[in-house]
Chain length 155, copies 2
């Protein structure tokens, strides 16, 4: 796959980011370090929680999405970073070994006025489970480099 520039993202594009999952051990290891609430770290206590079973930290599912995004998209782009994300929603519990598919839909594409070598893409990012249910969604903000010929022609 050739490198993607800002100009290669079109509003409406849906990009498949492959799939991932987290084992019970990985869910517990993440949560012990970053989100040690009982239903994320202890299968026994999780039985008595509102979830009824061990579930991944919402931050863990967001991090799993990020890994798919880096491996299957960002590493083939001229990525210039991100100032953050909006509307992160942990819509459904994520269970051990659940197969999670990542996808990114391009919502907006805007050339930067202040930085002519850069464009801003806004996206809807989703993780979908095997039943087709959206378990996590967020609105992404991405800075991408512009095609050199375009950028240079504006100098």
């Amino acid at each position: 796959m050739p490198t993607r520039y800002f100009e290669d993202f079109q509003v409406g594009d849906v990009i498949n980011l492959g799939s991932t999952s987290a084992s019970a051990e990985e869910i517990i290891a993440f949560a012990k370090q970053y989100d040690p609430q009982p239903f994320h770290v202890d299968p026994e206590q999780a039985k008595h929680s509102a979830f009824g079973t061990l579930v991944a930290s919402g931050w863990h599912s967001s991090a799993l999405f990020m890994r798919l995004l880096v491996d299957n998209l960002l590493n083939d782009t001229i990525s210039m970073g991100s100032p953050g994300v909006d509307e992160v929603r942990w819509r459904r519990p994520v269970h051990p070994d659940e197969r999670l598919q990542g996808r990114l839909t391009v919502l907006e594409s805007t050339a930067s006025k202040s930085r002519p070598n850069m464009g801003v893409i806004r996206s809807l990012c989703e993780l979908v489970n095997q039943e087709g249910e959206i378990v996590m969604s967020l609105k992404g903000l991405h800075f991408f480099g512009r095609r050199p010929e375009f950028f240079q022609s504006r100098e």
Copy 2:
């Protein structure tokens, strides 16, 4: 500290969540698993990046905040989870061993109409470095249990 209920959060309250930091090894370990971009995983390549040095993944700084929130607040509340967060902003690079202070400011407090045993708190969550600069901010949404006497009196 006694358990905090929904009623114990007042708009304008600023809650100190203590401090944390991540070593270069921890920054690299997180990023290798969840955000393997060169400036997060390789100090040599990071020198040639826009950052000029190794920096933590934004998701890592958000996760570091979450750990402070769980240890220093959520574990002393009747936490009923969170549907997500808004306006996550990675405002400044986070470097190895930087001391990061967490704080939460209560922005809004709303009793739930559909679930009388619950209230919703909206918050501004921030990580601040030793120079007093905000390195990460987000708007939190938190579900907390109501004081039993209040909840029961409405039955």
